[in-house]
């Protein structure tokens, strides 16, 4: 029981932040954090000790949050969209570089909150939970080969959300 308490104290913060990044509202993130830990207590027997614990923890969390989003149909916006067929515009490298220099992490977080659920989830899984493409594919239900496309698409959406003018400028670069 004490070990469980230690574990909770160590990971409650990171898991809350993970949920906060993936779910739209703070209250949802709080609920999800509590539910994830309750789920963990039931599933702890399924943990494969040969794998890093944190990776497993994020996997459980990702599944839970994705399931919450799925239930609310928030990800419906991309559900029917063919990932394979999405056109990707080539950015103007120097404009992209400039825009990134002018953007703060706060700007990025605000822009991230405007993304569709799948895009937001993909970015969080990759750059917060540091999941592999295989794990991301498994979590958000796309084929392994298209994880890169999903991530790139998410970056484009993020850039667009970061600033309309810059996005327009970047799009002018063409491929």
């Amino acid at each position: 029981m004490e070990a469980w308490g230690d574990l909770y104290r160590e990971f409650a913060g990171p898991i809350f932040r993970f949920c906060r990044r993936t779910l739209p509202a703070r209250e949802d993130a709080e609920d999800a954090t509590m539910e994830i830990f309750m789920k963990l207590r039931e599933k702890i027997g399924q943990y494969d000790a040969s794998r890093p614990f944190q990776a497993w923890l994020y996997k459980v969390s990702a599944n839970h949050c994705w399931d919450m989003l799925r239930r609310r149909r928030i990800r419906q916006d991309l559900e029917t969209e063919g990932v394979e067929e999405m056109p990707l515009e080539h950015p103007d490298p120097s404009q992209l570089d400039r825009m990134l220099e002018e953007s703060s992490s706060e700007d990025v977080r605000l822009a991230l909150a405007k993304l569709p659920a799948r895009s937001r989830m993909a970015l969080v899984l990759r750059y917060y939970a540091e999941m592999s493409y295989d794990e991301i594919a498994d979590s958000i239900g796309v084929r392994r080969n298209f994880v890169g496309v999903v991530l790139l698409r998410a970056r484009h959406q993020l850039r667009a959300a970061l600033g309309g003018k810059m996005a327009a400028g970047m799009a002018a670069g063409g491929s």
Partner: protein, 539 residues
């Protein structure tokens, strides 16, 4: 010069390109300014993303940081479960079983109560014919509610399937082969003397009903203002309305949910009455039992079996073949009273017994002081057992639906819970009773009231855990929650013992608040299942 596309550059940075292709890209980038800048920009973007996502700009809520994980001492568990088990046993022996026996004596043996209410004879036929759109919608809504509550876990699909199958099974129970004669919304209905209805007779919304002839079946009157039976009914008479007068003969039972019931004739079996006033005239006769919930009850006719009453005032002035069990403010036994069994009376005043009354044994009187007997050990023992029963109920709730339980506990901190609870605690019974009397959905009404009673009882569990958390800190562990539930219940039971009605008001406040918290949790849960608007995407 050909440039590498963005996705290839990204895969290169992520280390996902095969080595020959990665070397090729690397060599190309050395001589290509545009690709070099793109690689640098993508790398900066990755770093910015990681930084933005990992930055701890927002504090973690205190309630997530302060859970307490502690082992409970085994003896506490043993005592808790022992008390809970004893509480259940006490509930069964002291409350449920005697009631069951008394109801059985009054003609509601085993499942007869439900059968009578829903599926028996004429009423069941009536259900089939009254199968309106509103009823269908009401049942559908309940099924939907059950579905939403149970759908959260895939394993619970089995439960959903069972519930739906049970509902469907009940809905399509084979009807009795006999048909029924049905009359709807007539201002008056008269069955003339000498006439005979050879089936069940159902009257819906009839202002005045006069049965002078013979009915070879049950008579069911719903929404009738005035019902008079001077003829002969070979089955039961069931009336939901204003007044019912039995001058003739009923071979079965009379069940009345009316303002006033008067019996001048003969009922061969039982009389059950939920009424304001019940009068049985000197020449009347009830073959078996009389069970009555009423304001004023006057029995001057002959009763073959027991009289079981809950009333303000009971006057018995006729022969009674069995016992009298009366809970009322005042009981009077008139000069013509002849009680062959025991007379057990619990009231606020001693019974008034006329010297001419003939009793097989003296009146067993218990003064209903409406004040707890603080000096009695039995009182504290019952209190402890009652706590045990509440604890086991809360435990079951917590283990069956932990997420909802925790959400309800959290809602106790919201003032909205009190408002919601106040609205529901008074509103639900009114709506349920209205629904019952309009017979839009008797089953829906009964189910609602049962759920309501359970919700009122469950309310204190959430307040108990909230109190426990205030004393020992927040927790997520099941053991911790159970411990807080146990302690919180002790506090609540202690608070409810405060005299001068303060305890009663505290109990009411807890019930209102807790019920509101539960209702709010259910409401939010249902809200969450609604499709949300897609998030806006900047173009």
């Amino acid at each position: 010069m050909n440039h590498y596309d963005e996705i290839t550059c990204l895969q290169y940075l992520e280390g996902l390109l095969e080595r020959p292709r990665a070397l090729e890209l690397s060599a190309h980038a050395e001589g290509c300014q545009q690709c070099r800048v793109l690689l640098r920009a993508l790398e900066s973007e990755s770093k910015l993303l990681a930084l933005a996502l990992r930055e701890q700009e927002e504090a973690v809520p205190a309630r997530l940081l302060s859970p307490v994980f502690r082992d409970k001492t085994p003896w506490a568990w043993i005592v808790s479960f022992g008390m809970a088990a004893a509480g259940l046993l006490w509930l069964w022996n002291s409350v449920i079983d005697p009631w069951r026996a008394q109801l059985s004596q009054a003609g509601f043996g085993e499942t007869d109560l439900l059968t009578m209410m829903l599926f028996r004879g004429s009423l069941w036929n009536g259900w089939q014919t009254m199968w309106t759109m509103i009823q269908a919608l009401a049942v559908f809504c309940f099924a939907l509610l059950g579905y939403f509550l149970l759908r959260r876990g895939s394993r619970r699909w089995h439960t959903v399937a069972m519930v739906l199958a049970a509902v469907m099974g009940v809905m399509f129970l084979p009807a009795r082969t006999g048909a029924a004669e049905i009359h709807r919304h007539q201002s008056t209905y008269t069955l003339p003397a000498g006439s005979e209805v050879k089936t069940d007779l159902i009257l819906i919304g009839t202002m005045s009903t006069q049965i002078d002839g013979t009915v070879d079946g049950d008579v069911l009157v719903i929404g009738g203002q005035r019902v008079t039976v001077t003829g002969h009914v070979m089955g039961d008479v069931i009336v939901f309305g204003q007044t019912v007068t039995i001058n003739g003969t009923v071979d079965g039972n009379v069940r009345a949910f009316v303002q006033q019931m008067t019996l001048r004739g003969k009922v061969s079996r039982n009389v059950s009455a939920w009424v304001n006033t019940l009068d049985t005239d000197p020449g009347s006769e009830v073959g078996r039992e009389v069970l009555a919930f009423a304001n004023v009850i006057t029995t001057e006719g002959r009763v073959g079996g027991d009289i079981q009453t809950f009333a303000n005032h009971l006057l018995v002035n006729g022969p009674v073949g069995g016992n009298i069990h009366a809970t009322c403010d005042q009981m009077t036994l008139g000069s013509s009273a002849q009680i062959q069994g025991a007379t057990v009376y619990k009231g606020r005043h001693e019974a008034e017994v006329d010297p001419g009354a003939k009793l097989a044994s003296p009146v067993q009187f218990t003064l209903n002081t409406r004040q707890p007997e603080y000096t009695s050990g039995k009182y504290y023992w019952h209190l402890a057992l009652s706590w045990g029963a509440a604890f086991i109920f809360g435990l079951a709730l917590l283990l069956i639906m932990p997420s909802l339980f925790i959400e309800a506990v959290r809602n106790t901190e919201s003032l909205a819970s009190a408002g919601f609870g106040a609205l529901l605690i008074f509103g639900v019974p009114i709506v349920a009773i209205l629904v019952c009397f309009t017979v839009v959905g008797l089953a829906v009404s009964i189910s609602t009231l049962m759920i309501y009673v359970m919700a009122v009882y469950a309310g204190k569990m959430f307040i108990a855990v909230w109190l426990g958390q205030k004393m020992f800190g927040a927790t997520l562990s099941t053991g911790g929650l159970i411990g807080r539930l146990a302690v919180g219940l002790v506090v609540i039971y202690a608070l409810r013992q405060i005299p001068y009605t303060i305890g009663i008001w505290i109990g009411l406040l807890i019930a209102v608040w807790g019920m509101g918290a539960l209702a709010l949790a259910l409401y939010r849960r249902l809200q969450r299942t609604q499709p949300a608007a897609p998030l806006a995407v900047a173009a």
